[in-house]
Amino acid sequence: MRPDLKTWLLVLVVAAFLGLFFFYPIGSVFESALWESTGPTLHYVGNVLSKSATRAGFASALVLASVATLAASLLALPLAYLQARTEFPGKRLFGAAILVPLILPPFVGAIGLKQVLGPYGALNAALAHLGVIGPAGAVDWFRAGPLAGVIILQALHLYPIIYLNVVAGLANVDPSLEDAARSVGAGPWRVLVRVTFPLILPSYFAGAIIVFIWAMTDLGTPLMFNYREPVAVQIFDRVSQPSNAEANALVVVLLAVVALLYLGARGLAGRQAFEMMAVATRPPAAGRLGRGAAAMAVLLFGAVTLVAVLPHAAVVLYSLKTEWHGTVLPSGLTLAHHQAALGLAPYEAAVPRSLRPLPSIWNSVVYSLGAVAVSLVLAVWTGYVLVRKRFAGRGVLDALVMLPLAVPGLVLAFGYLNCYADWGDRLVDAGVWSRNYLYPQTSPVALLVAAYAVRRLPLAVRAAVAGFQQTSRTLEEAALSVGAGPVRTLGRITVPLIAANLAAGALLVFAMSMLEVSDSLILAQDDAFNPVTRTIYRIYSNEYAVTGEAVASALGVWAMVFLAAALVAATALMGKRLGAIFRA
């Protein structure tokens, strides 16, 4: 194909957004790591790479990510297949319940886990009650096996990402392709492995690569276990020091490793990505399971849901406790913390007056919706460019889009602070703005939305790319042939056709934005603009109140309720029930 001006323009828009909201803000990281006044330098990269601590850090991050991705896949794939292709009692309910890990707020999620797994936690109390351990035999589960603990938690937290993508992918598979395989004598297992799985590979890859990078660069979970090996923790340990070139070099190396790993994985999976000739000409048949199989399915869903919902249950109980120390369940219940969290007890010591808990939930909803809108538009655009256009450097762009996943939130947030305030000042000076909309002290909204959108963009892009890959071009050509322009074709044909994938992406972006921490803590500086995570953090870190953690948990419970309600409402708006939105 001849060099195509339009393609380059499309690419330019994606590159410009990434440049503006990602590379420009973190430019100082690259500058500090790779540049001195005498010219470019690899001194710090060299130092970082020559350290065995760093190498061990990368090794452990890779092990962590590989095993966590494998574990999350083993959880998500069977569940997704059962949900998409079979009928069993309680399927709808389970389909929704399986997404609960997506709505566990930070901080209080950790409180919940500590309440279960700590030395005076519920698990030890239960074991002591059963006589398994003596009074002095309390196990500190966080120290029992940090690596295994991190992997288990990550897998339990991240499997919905694979699950959502794969369910969306299965909805797009033309069942006649599977029927064809059955007709030539392939058994169900062979059909699954040789036909169905290759067809949903783009969707699986979309989820798995995100889980992999997420697990590899995750900070919160390893810190909870004091597992300090992974490279992300090493970066975090240094990032607070003033302009530390070595920390920045570590970030640069991490970004390079993630980009290379991504390109490698894409090369492996990409060779096998197939576009179906058309989307399903009839809906996939949902096979009714036999009694035994249905029981197994219910058991599987039930078990995963139960384990996944444990921290939530602990958070709910914690928010209702009067005292909960060394017992299986709280020794007494009260609604006082919820009253405080909802502002019904205005002088409750745990909540400083500048904090407005309920409006901050609403703030988060608005910001997250903004992030969903921005990232979806960009994701459709990027997916279109990446899948439908051929141009030199396509792989590079594809990898660059994934990088926001790997950049520590702190680094990006500080980048925003450093880079954009001046712009806003200039616009105010020029009389364009009455207020600096790019400065957290005057208005953090635009920065927060941009930060959420950028950090969660890879989730949306992967979903969109999978959709484009699975949707036959001829459906778009058919629209062009009856005279619809590219924009209308995209809007009326392509986007509706990949709606299942986009919905999966939007869901993830929304939930993960609602629960975002580092950008929220740094970019919101005026309490009037607080996202709920910052309000929770402020109440949680209140050193003056007996009840700070419990009130924070109560607010966390309400954040979960709102988030769940928002997800249900979003899917209801689309006319389908939660979990069933992925049926074409």
């Binding site: 005498t38 710090y44 009074p135 607070s240 003033p242 002088y347 809108a373 740094i522 050193e543 007996v546």
Partner: protein, 462 residues
């Protein structure tokens, strides 16, 4: 595609337009304060200052406390970034411990003269520590001591020896039972470690710190996590600043928690307030400093919540710098606190040493304790299992650099070179090059340390 872009722009613009934020009017003074102080302190001081200011000047005051996501270190970094970019939009630094001395050295402060009637009530020093800068660069707004918080329930359940002094943290019985702050993340945490170094002398102090690190269950990013985790029973004890402990004890209420300031082995420090160079609202900033140093401000630290002249909502549990306030607080029924103003001077403490090696010590301890924590713990476990052979225990904690070398590195390599704004460009460029050379040296030294210690811990764990 054009439609899509328009939608995105509209979405951003629309969102940017919504939301609150009152415009300051002409008869309102605005203050921007960088502070690690908690919401409660911010709220009480804001409200009390507004009332005092209104009464005195008839003008309203708005106080904004931007969140910088960290303590003194983070504040210094943020301000350095701002000053480098030529942004002077912050008026005051309130809290953050010893960073003011550093900022004074870097020319980031603005001296303030307070009226003699205010200053006459403030003691010159507490336990030998100066309470304000003689030239008015900074003022000590509150004082605090360092010690250990401990949980008697955990000590009892695990059969641990009782807490005596700092060395308890290095006791092999406390393996996995110590909660410690990350020295590179929190200035107050680092201060506690510096006190240990000076109280016991460099070599012995370093031994305590390394074994404490080996005992640590985990390292926390903020100093406040130590008392919290201690209260929850995750750890038995940990170094802690007095008011964190007081608050946690007040909150916990059950009597399991205790705080110990090892007599003769700790110091009093003050939490300063200072006006920043280029402060956009300098007059109001000076008013605020005066308010904080007057009895009206000082009472907020110690009086019970809701008492006349005291804080409205929160008992702040901090120690004032005015001796009179201690009596007032006791008279109003606040929990009795030892008055550090009356304590004998801690003659072992050399503040110059602290300032000289602050950053290099943070990096050394980060490498020795945090970065290689898994290896350190394994080596320590092995030594304990081997019956604590003297050679192994000594080898584990032997510092890689002598005290003199550490101080030299602090002064000549770790101290950042920041050119004054008015320096000529060539001078700035020269300083920048020198700073880059220092940075290289820092990075190379750290790399060497990390390799050496990792190898040492591995050998000892075999």
């Amino acid at each position: 595609m054009r439609t899509a872009a328009a939608v995105a722009t509209l979405a951003l613009a629309g969102l940017a337009g919504c939301g609150g934020g009152a415009q300051p009017s002409a008869d309102t003074d605005t203050l921007v304060i960088f502070s690690p102080h908690s919401d409660e302190i911010r709220q009480e001081f804001t409200e009390a200052f507004q009332a005092w200011h209104r009464e005195r000047t008839g003008r309203e005051a708005e106080v904004s406390w931007p969140d910088i996501g960290g303590g003194g270190t983070q504040i210094l970094k943020r301000l350095q970034d701002k000053f480098r970019a030529g942004r002077y939009d912050v008026d005051l630094v309130f809290g953050g411990g010893p960073i003011v001395e550093q900022m004074k050295g870097l020319g980031m402060l603005q001296a303030v003269r307070l009226p003699p009637d205010v200053m006459s009530a403030v003691p010159r020093a507490a336990a030998g520590q100066p309470l304000y800068d003689p030239d008015g660069w900074w003022y000590g707004a509150a004082i605090s001591t360092f010690g250990l918080i401990y949980n008697n329930a955990v000590i009892r359940d695990k059969g641990l020896p009782p807490v005596r002094d700092w060395e308890t943290l290095a006791d092999p019985n406390y393996l996995g039972c110590v909660g410690a702050g990350d020295p590179a993340k929190s200035v107050s945490v680092l201060k506690a470690y510096e006190i240990i170094l000076q109280a016991y002398g460099y070599e012995r102090g370093m031994g305590i710190l390394v074994r404490m690190g080996a005992n640590a269950r985990e390292f926390y990013a903020t100093a406040g996590e130590v008392p919290r985790n201690c209260a929850q029973g995750f750890v038995a004890a940990g170094p802690c600043i007095d008011f964190y402990a007081f608050r946690q004890m007040l909150a916990e209420g059950g009597g399991n928690l205790g705080f110990l300031a090892p007599p003769g082995l700790t110091v009093v420090t003050c939490d300063p307030i200072a006006v920043l160079k280029g402060a956009p609202h300098r007059d109001a900033a000076e008013q605020f400093v005066e308010f904080v140093m007057r009895p009206e401000g000082q009472r907020l630290w110690m009086l019970p919540a809701g008492s006349p002249g005291g804080p409205r909502q929160y008992a702040l549990q901090r120690l004032a710098v005015l001796p009179a306030v201690y009596d007032e607080a006791a008279a109003r029924g606040a929990p009795a606190r030892v008055n550090p103003l009356a304590a004998p001077p801690a003659d072992f403490y050399d503040a110059a040493k602290e300032i000289a090696r602050q950053t290099v010590l943070a990096d050394y301890l980060r490498v020795a304790l945090v970065e290689n924590h898994a290896g350190l713990t394994k080596a320590w476990q092995k030594i304990i299992a081997g019956g604590l052979p003297a050679a192994g225990a000594a080898e584990l904690v032997r510092p890689l650099v002598s005290e003199e070398e550490m101080l030299r590195l602090g002064r000549e390599v770790w101290a950042p070179l920041l050119a004054p704004d008015d320096a000529p460009p060539e001078k700035k460029a020269e300083l920048k090059r020198q700073e880059e050379q220092r940075q290289r040296l820092r990075s190379d030294t750290e790399t060497r340390w990390s390799e050496a210690l990792r190898k040492r811990y591995e050998t000892l764990a075999k």
